[in-house]
Symmetry: C3
Subunit: 201 residues, 3 copies
């Protein structure tokens, strides 16, 4: 139940990130709504398609679409009043990444698949909505930026799997995972945290 609200929260923050990404394009409100919707449901829809879960989550439960509409509206009202703080877009994206990475991993385990598949599916669920948003709005996908991005999702899912293996209750493990992804990603953005990569030749 708590998880359901968290999922709605993930949809809301990703929708907000979609609206923020289209901002300099001067789109009308329905255009923004379409980009917000694709961003918000992209990851979860891919997850449901890959796991063969029908009907897709947002088709049977209207609260998802209603949440996207509300999140879009609130973001627009907020934007019309003051310029957005620089980190707002990145924080909304990080929150969506965190929530969907963990929910993707959890649903994969619940469907009887192995932890290895859960890591891959969770990571893809987390990053896909953002990739879709960035590709459609003609930005370089965040997953390609230098700072820790996919790594944050993977580490958070691994923490969740480790806590589960140590018999930590599901809810605690889940939220710890979400917190780890979000914290790692925001630290990366704030202080330019990144893993060593190949030296350029």
């Amino acid at each position: 139940m708590l998880l359901y609200y968290l999922d709605l929260a993930g949809v809301a923050v990703f929708a907000a990130s979609g609206v923020l990404a289209t901002r300099e394009r001067n789109l009308d409100v329905f255009g923004m709504l379409v980009v917000a919707t694709l961003t918000a449901i992209g990851g979860g829809t891919l997850r449901d398609l890959l796991l063969g879960r029908h009907p897709i989550f947002w088709i049977v439960d209207h609260w998802y679409l209603a949440t996207i509409a509300m999140a879009t509206l609130i973001t627009l009202i907020y934007l019309s009043r003051r310029p957005p703080p620089g980190l707002l877009f990145l924080a909304a994206d990080a929150a969506g990444l965190a929530i969907f990475a963990l929910s993707g991993a959890q649903l994969t385990l619940a469907a009887g698949h192995s932890p290895m598949i859960a890591v891959v599916m969770g990571t893809m669920t987390g990053v896909f909505g953002g990739i879709l948003r960035d590709v459609i709005t003609a930005h370089v996908p965040l997953v390609l930026h230098k700072e820790v991005y996919a790594t944050a999702a993977i580490v958070g899912i691994l923490v969740y799997l480790a806590l589960r293996a140590l018999s930590v209750p599901e809810t605690g493990a889940f939220f710890t995972g979400v917190a780890v992804v979000f914290a790692l990603r925001m630290l990366a953005v704030r202080w330019g945290l990144n893993l060593p990569s190949l030296p350029r030749q």
Copy 2:
């Protein structure tokens, strides 16, 4: 039955828009055919995947692929004879948007889903083929342009739903919806029609 021919027409015009989008790339004919095919079947394939309709429409009925091949050939012959009028690409795209938005909405209702889902699914079906085309050919997606685009699809679907609710026969409601989307979009292109958007800061 009429609907089936309309669907084929949607596939044909989107295929033509795909060919026109690859034009300055100097692609060979099979490369163009691949882009035309992805554009033409992209929206409907997403619709079928999301609704869990198997087999996918173009897999069981060869007329879709044959139509794409013919539309590609005719577009190429036409292009080899004279330069395309400036609006041809936008008109082909608008026709595809109109047909697929309405067919997506109609099939969603027929599958027993609510009008709200029909609006979202219809809009996604209409815009997805074009987004795929524009992303693959490295253009800025039309849905991101300033003029009315997603709005045209949404308004047309709402008109269709309203007419149905008023007991207008299905075929009449459907074609009125298609006409509304196409007309709105062409007016937007021709006279730069756009909704008020946020003031830039």
Copy 3:
């Protein structure tokens, strides 16, 4: 059985092409792994989704993901020691294209569909992983380049279908098809082979 190993080889070479495509981006290793994974499983996942084959191939068999991890690691070790030869990326992509085009065609026939659908599905399976890779890494998709690309896939699949129709044993027909795609594509890259296209106006 042989086919299974070939499929793993396709996953491996596409993963390597994904790593090579992210190289100038200075990504960390997990970011590369995500791009490698999306490239390697993109085509096959689309194929399984379109054919309604569940579970998706890489979800039930861990060797696919293990192969991607190993291929990524080997590519990284190789890259850290010497600059890659110019053709390495294109050869890895051509090998992936060849293998997935043919495996897509074969699985489509095995699912009872017609040769025409096998050509389309095989071509889409072959090109999709590479399109995903190029779009995510903000490159112009190889399928849009001037040299023979989609054509190589289509010709190879047609050769395979022709040999099958002539009662050539399945394995021989399959590998001949793979060889034709790979050879055509590499010839195209090496000597700028391309089909006549429309004269620019």
